[in-house]
């Protein structure tokens, strides 16, 4: 079923589409260190794709390759049926790939609302001069985008902090604001780098719910990195498993769970 080119339907009845992004034989080196070695996998439209693996396996590097923060030395990234040339991160973002960071990267001095508004940059087209000269269009654009942002604020239940400077928020809420900013871009692919790291059980449950709701409500394709195996198995449709920069498993949570190489990587192998 996973090989069907037009996509498939999950057990809970969600429609997964065709391949939206494909990584082909990606190799990424930092000097002599090989962070990613010859990895290939695809991402289908509307699915929740997890990347898991022990510390230092190269998961975040992989995410950085997708979002253009790193350009791999070898291999190709295919996006929406076309090969992607080496790009700057901001160019990738403008193509509709939004992300969050492992160590939250928000604009601390700005309010929650302004932070989320920066996510709308892709949707705001009035140029510098038309903003200065042609007030009407810029104003209409601002109002429209503000409307979209308010919807996201409602959706993620952060109405009460919309005017608060982000620097004052507790960790869990910051994570949620970062998700909101990424969502504001109406991305076709949303990359989440450890969205639940450092959260307590309750916060994790909230975040899991939001991830599922986002996927359900907007049909957003989500790629996420997570350590908590329970969370990964519950959330994701398909899982890539990495270890020491290599791919050691790829499939549904059940397939991955029973994969011997994965079990070895996580639990260790007895040497005799």
């Amino acid at each position: 079923m996973l090989d069907a080119p037009e996509g498939y339907t999950t057990e809970d009845g969600r429609k997964i589409g065709g391949v939206v992004m494909e990584m082909k034989n990606i190799t990424l080196r930092f000097g002599g260190v090989v962070a990613i070695k010859d990895i290939s996998f695809d991402i289908r439209e509307g699915e929740i794709r997890a990347i898991i693996g022990p510390n230092g396996a190269g998961k975040s590097s992989m995410l950085n390759v997708i979002s253009g923060f790193y350009n791999p030395q070898e291999g190709e990234v295919w996006y929406k049926g076309a090969k992607r040339p080496p790009m700057k991160p901001y160019q990738v973002a403008r193509q509709g790939i939004a992300r969050t960071f492992q160590n939250i990267a928000l604009f601390d001095g700005m309010s929650v609302l302004d932070n989320i508004m920066t996510g709308r940059i892709r949707q705001m087209n009035a140029g510098l001069f038309s903003q200065a000269l042609w007030k009407g269009r810029a104003e209409r654009e601002e109002v429209e985008n503000r409307g979209a942002v308010e919807k996201i604020i409602d959706f993620l239940e952060i109405q009460h902090i919309r005017k608060t400077p982000v620097g004052r928020l507790p960790y869990g809420l910051k994570k949620r604001v970062e998700l909101a900013r990424a969502l504001a871009a109406e991305p076709s692919i949303l990359l989440l780098d450890e969205p639940m790291a450092g959260m307590n059980v309750e916060e994790k449950e909230d975040m899991s719910r939001f991830v599922l709701d986002v996927n359900d409500e907007f049909g957003t394709t989500i790629v996420l990195i997570e350590h908590d195996m329970g969370v990964v198995m519950d959330l994701s449709d398909r899982v890539v498993v990495m270890d020491y920069g290599r791919k050691i498993g790829d499939g549904t949570p059940d397939e991955v769970r029973t994969n011997q190489a994965v079990i070895d990587a996580y639990l260790g192998v007895a040497h005799d």
Binding site: F101, I121, Q131, R168
Partner: protein, 328 residues
């Protein structure tokens, strides 16, 4: 009304006007600092360079004429035409944008993620380079700048105060123009920073580079834009100060007067730069007027700096600066 009080009011008004001119210079600092975290020591020289270029273009001066003449033994100085003021200002702005692009491409793009002190040192280098470059390009002589701004005593104010109070206030027309221009400039800049896409992107870049990239903001574009804006503000300040006291090397030293203004207003606040400028302007004039005679005068030289020192001790972020938020 007692003479003393009337005179005090006149001093107060003149202080306000002087403050506006300080604020104009301080604005350039705030812009760059807000968007890139760089304290731009070269802002004063930028104003000098802008004024030099403006005069040069208006007079139809051949750039680098001294150098060309020295190397080739020629005797060329002028193209022999004069450029109208408005066109010359537009052309100067083009030069400032090119300069902004060069500054970003040749210097600051290579210093991304460096310590603030290193960026600061780079701006000192830029200041000295630009100073010499301006000299070679346009010559080191004192120039007169006249873009057609009104100058001299404002007859209207003189007349009505004379009729009403029996004493005519001396208010310079140029100061009035400077006030109007500054008000316009600040309004435009605040609206720009708070309510436009690029303004928001500018604040975003100042806060976090990675996050800015991840939402699709091009750092280079924003930096060139910010340096161009700073160049624009420098041009306005250069026109005002240049018209007032001639275009010469000492123009670059007005940057020093902007420092206490920044300490008062906060490095990150555009309205702060204005209020800070006004407080310094009024403060030093009134202090000189009221306390000066008691301590032997010449208080204008140090008043601003002492005030700034007090602020550093009791309110380091300035009146309007962003609060330093830190969660532990």
């Amino acid at each position: 009304m007692p003479d003393q009080l009337i005179f005090a009011i006149e001093v107060f008004l003149n202080g306000l006007m002087a403050g506006v001119l300080y604020a104009l210079v301080a604005l350039g600092f705030v812009l760059i600092y807000k968007a890139s975290g760089i304290f731009n020591y070269a802002q004063g020289v930028l104003a000098l360079f802008a004024a030099l270029t403006l005069v040069g273009i208006m007079e139809g001066q051949v750039p680098f004429s001294h150098l060309i003449n020295a190397v080739f033994g020629t005797e060329i100085h002028n193209f022999g035409f004069h450029v109208p003021a408005l066109l010359a200002i537009a052309l100067t702005m083009v030069v400032m944008v090119v300069l902004a692009w060069l500054v970003n491409t040749l210097i600051f793009r290579h210093l991304v993620n460096q310590e603030p002190i290193i960026l600061f040192m780079a701006t000192i280098g830029l200041a000295y380079f630009l100073e010499g470059f301006g000299d070679i390009m346009w010559g080191a002589d004192i120039k007169k700048l006249d873009v057609g701004l009104p100058q001299g005593i404002n007859g209207f104010i003189d007349q009505i105060t004379l009729d009403a109070l029996g004493y005519g206030f001396f208010i310079d027309n140029l100061d009035l123009v400077a006030t109007a221009v500054a008000a316009l400039l600040v309004t435009a800049l605040v609206i720009f920073a708070q309510y436009t896409r690029q303004g928001r992107a500018m604040r975003a870049v100042a806060d976090d580079h990675q996050a800015a990239l991840s939402v699709g903001i091009s750092l280079n574009f924003i930096w060139v834009m910010v340096w161009s804006l700073a160049g624009f503000v420098a041009l306005v300040a250069g026109i005002m100060w240049g018209t007032k006291s001639g275009v010469q090397f000492s123009l670059s030293l007005i940057a020093l007067k902007a420092l206490p203004v920044l300490m008062l207003g906060g490095f990150t606040s555009i309205p702060g730069a204005i209020v800070g400028g006004l407080i310094i302007g009024v403060g030093e004039k009134m202090f000189e007027f009221l306390i000066g005679p008691l301590v032997g005068g010449a208080t204008e030289n140090w008043f601003a700096y002492v005030l700034a020192l007090l602020f550093l001790v009791f309110r380091p972020q300035g009146l309007f600066g962003e609060k330093i938020i830190e969660r532990v």
